[in-house]
């Protein structure tokens, strides 16, 4: 929507590759190549604050996940930043912290969902494989723009749509209790939600759970066995 509130993120995010050639190149380089791609990212404030053990382990863990097995390519757990850089509505923390806020936002039209699948080259899919999700969640002021939508996998493990929900809920809670700036929360989830999870929910990856055919039952459920991460140093 309005350009002054639109956030653009140009980082090459791990887990997605711009082209087949890039995939093949990274396949040849393996984890080292993936790490180089990660380190080449232009990251700003929030990520600089992640110079911690959690962030380091997130890189290592994520690098293992980007080894381009067929399943990793078919079921990406982070979006392609070129297609889905993230986009926000012109809203404030006061808007999003009103109970029922997300119900005021229109559902994504089917035509737009089809456009999202097509842009990611997904021609067919089975129920429970994906959902068209907001990279920056509605609860954090994300918009319905195609720049904020991607086919999020339920199948990847440990990082998948269920896990991202936990981060969305935690960031929303922190924004609404005044301990986290909304714009920063939006940057965190748009730049690398896996790292965001490790910083704000749990430094350890969630337990591996097979979710092949299970659709999400509640957008507001959180893995209860996970101890909450301490607040990062501002």
């Amino acid at each position: 929507m309005g350009s002054q509130h639109t956030h653009r993120f140009s980082c090459m995010t791990e887990g997605r590759f711009r082209s087949t050639a890039a995939r093949r190149a990274t396949a040849g380089l393996g984890i080292a190549g993936a790490l180089l791609a990660f380190l080449a990212c232009d990251r700003s404030v929030s990520v600089q604050q992640a110079q911690s053990q959690a962030a380091s382990s997130a890189v290592a863990d994520t690098a293992q996940n980007v080894v381009p097995s067929d399943s990793a390519l078919r079921f990406p757990f982070v979006p392609d930043p070129a297609k889905t850089p993230g986009d926000t509505l012109e809203v404030t923390a006061a808007d999003i912290c009103v109970p029922g806020y997300s119900k005021k936002v229109r559902n994504v039209p089917i035509a737009v969902k089809r456009q999202v699948y097509a842009s990611y080259g997904i021609r067919t899919h089975k129920p429970g494989e994906y959902e068209v999700d907001h990279l920056i969640s509605l609860e954090l002021g994300g918009s319905n723009s195609i720049r904020n939508l991607w086919p999020e996998s339920f199948r990847t493990s440990p990082w998948n749509a269920h896990v991202k929900d936990a981060l969305e809920n935690e960031l929303h809670r922190r924004v609404c209790d005044g301990t986290l700036d909304l714009a920063k929360a939006q940057r965190i989830i748009a730049q690398n939600w896996v790292m965001g999870y490790r910083m704000y929910v749990n430094p350890n990856p969630p337990p591996t759970v097979t979710t092949h055919t299970r659709a999400r039952t509640s957008r507001h459920s959180r893995p209860r066995s996970q101890p909450q991460a301490p607040a990062p140093v501002p």
């Binding site: 509505l89 012109e90 809203v91 808007d95 005021k104 936002v105 559902n107 918009s143």
Partner: protein
Amino acid sequence: MTAARMHRNQKLTPVIKGRSIAQIGWDGATALLHFDDGSVMRIHTPAPPPKNAPPAPLGKVLAVRQSTEAIAFDLESGSSLQIPLAEATSSVMLRDSKGALEYAD
């Protein structure tokens, strides 16, 4: 802007049905619809209107229809106000007279 492809906006229609569009203004390519209850709708369009554009119809809203390209307000008078959208989603936002968010797409 094809009326045939437009579908009733089931979320927005009940919100503004019965309100009257009192004035239409522009802020660059953003249309500002001022309703009689003080609420304001911002609609991002592809471009500002041409200077010689005919005056837009005003009046009480009966329903809202929308496609990926335009939004249409069906008025009690029988006329319809159609406004092109900058993109299929994320172009329309309504706030009440106090500034509280009522609707966004």
